[in-house]
């Protein structure tokens, strides 16, 4: 294949994919009877409603202490779910990684656990666990925990595989034991990525915790649900605002931590 025919075939490829994407969009909106232009036309109206109703007023500010208490509960629960999830995910990822894996069966097991817990959404986990644990913060914690284990195991496996092959080989050659290799070659090299993933998981969990809280009746999610159902939109606005602030603060903090450790 010379340069000209390659350019020509690439052009056709591009055209093909553009047409394909257009076709798929039109087909799916036709099937679901969703009119994208109608949807866009209602945007200004929705915006107007948000700005007229979701206002933080003096009255709603009086509820701030209760809201902050709930928010703190949610944040702490997210952190607890992430840290305990990290501990489990760390050992699962050691089993699942090619560099540190000891047997094929354990590797398959670890990846299976990770895949199951990751591919069922956190909300679905919350609903499933709700049946056995009831409406309390334990259910929310467990749902976040399971999701964290799945995601972190996957992320850790990739960090371990990527970072440490050569040093692991060197330490194996010196006659070091398995856990000496893990803690002195694997962990030091993967630590920045691992911490980065853990911080990301905390952020994600705070966001999910709000949603999970609506289902399990705990934390800031419960406050949101309560005010929303009692049509107290001003309080809803305050809750939403405090969640946004909290997430941004956590994000800024984790960005700073990332910069320092790397």
């Amino acid at each position: 294949m010379n340069e000209k025919t390659m350019k020509a075939s690439r052009k056709w490829q591009t055209l093909f994919f553009v047409v394909l994407i257009f076709g798929m969009t039109l087909a799916s909106s036709a099937i679901t009877e969703f009119n994208i232009f109608h949807g866009l036309a209602t945007l200004p109206k929705a915006g107007a409603w948000i700005f007229s109703n979701l206002l933080i007023t003096q009255e709603s500010l009086e509820r701030l202490p209760t809201i902050l208490e709930k928010l703190l509960e949610t944040i702490l629960m997210s952190i607890a779910a992430t840290t305990t999830g990290t501990a489990v995910a760390f050992f699962l990822s050691l089993m699942g990684s090619k560099t540190t894996g000891t047997s094929r069966a354990l590797g398959v097991f670890a990846r299976f656990v990770a895949s199951v817990s990751r591919n069922i959404p956190v909300v679905a986990w919350a609903l499933i666990l709700l049946l056995s644990f009831g409406q309390n913060s334990m259910t929310g914690y467990l749902a976040l925990f399971v999701g964290s284990v799945g995601f972190l195991t996957r992320a850790f496996i990739e960090s371990i595989d990527e970072a440490s092959q050569s040093a692991v080989e060197a330490l194996r050659a010196t006659g070091a034991t398995y856990f000496q290799i893990v803690f002195k070659a694997v962990v030091p090299q993967c630590l920045p990525q691992m911490i980065s993933w853990i911080l990301f998981m905390i952020e994600t969990n705070i966001r999910s915790a709000t949603l999970v809280g609506i289902l399990t009746g705990t934390g800031i999610g419960y406050a949101f649900d309560l005010y929303y159902k009692t049509l107290n939109y001003n309080a809803v606005a305050l809750v939403t605002f405090s969640i946004i602030i909290a997430v941004i603060v956590i994000e800024l903090m984790s960005n700073y931590i990332r910069k320092v450790i790397i």
Binding site: S166, E169, A170, T177, Y178, F179, P188, Q189
Partner: protein, 260 residues
């Protein structure tokens, strides 16, 4: 009895091609041996069969009177403790300091817990600093390894292998990623390991001239078999042609010869 005996060693990673085939040789204590050969000749595999970093398929490797292939996990770790290894890409932990990397060589003598907590005694620490001083990188002891140049990192690698108090040091292309000056420093240090400490060295090399300059003995590998085995002064052009294939082809190895 020789320190290392290789008997009918064979290795294949998949069923249709053999990497090593019917290798036989012995290495005496205190020898400086170079293994040369083109890429893919099986040099690295041969080296890794000696400390069983790859499993031995056929034949035997007897090191210091022990059949390496027949050892269980614990015994194998014990044997590896007395075998140092140096790598082309240094294989240090880049985020840790030089001194920490050197002390990693002591893990074989430690319990798991001592190793994880980094409990090293005064004698070991002094030994580590002594080696760093000898290799001329004492002032970098507390720097992170990723701040050092390639030649300096390789010297850390040498220190890590020497602190094991090994009987043999296996060097897998130790100078393949280094410039000529750094290469000379590294080769001089390796040579002094054999001459001053009496430790056997097996060095995989690409550069025939360097192999001839430094080693007592050269083994030439081609396609997994030995095509030359003898004192380095007896290695002639005809042998290198045999090792690297015909001379008419401008192979990368010949280009390296000119460069060196």
């Amino acid at each position: 009895m020789s320190l290392l005996q290789i008997k009918d060693l064979g290795k294949s990673y998949n069923s249709d091609s053999k990497v090593l085939q019917g290798l036989n040789f012995e290495v005496e204590a205190g020898e400086f041996l170079s293994v040369i050969g083109p890429s893919g000749a099986g040099k690295s595999t041969l080296l890794r069969c000696i400390n069983r970093m790859v499993e031995i398929d056929e034949g035997k490797v007897v090191f210091d009177g022990q059949d390496v292939g027949a050892l269980n996990k614990k015994e194998l770790r014990k044997v590896r403790t007395t075998i140092g290894m140096i790598f082309q890409h240094y294989n240090l932990v880049p985020r840790l300091s030089v001194i920490e990397n050197v002390l990693h060589g002591r893990f074989g003598y430690k319990t798991t817990i001592q190793g994880i907590l980094g409990r090293f005694n005064e004698a070991e620490k002094e030994h580590a600093f002594f080696l760093l001083k000898k290799l001329g990188i004492e002032e970098h002891a507390y720097k992170r390894c990723d701040q050092l140049s390639g030649g300096q990192q390789q010297r850390v690698g040498i220190a890590r292998s020497l602190i094991q108090e090994p009987k043999i040091v296996l060097c897998d292309e130790p100078i393949a990623s280094l410039d000529p000056n750094a290469s000379k420093v590294i080769m001089d240090h390796l040579k002094s390991i054999t001459q001053e400490l009496g430790i056997t060295c097996i060095v995989n090399l690409h550069q025939v001239e360097i192999a001839k300059d430094y080693s007592d003995r050269i083994i030439g590998l081609n396609k997994g078999g030995i095509v030359f085995d003898g004192p380095s002064y007896r290695l002639h052009r005809s042998h290198t042609d045999l090792i690297y294939g015909t001379q008419s082809k401008a192979t990368p190895e010949i280009r390296e010869l000119i460069m060196v």
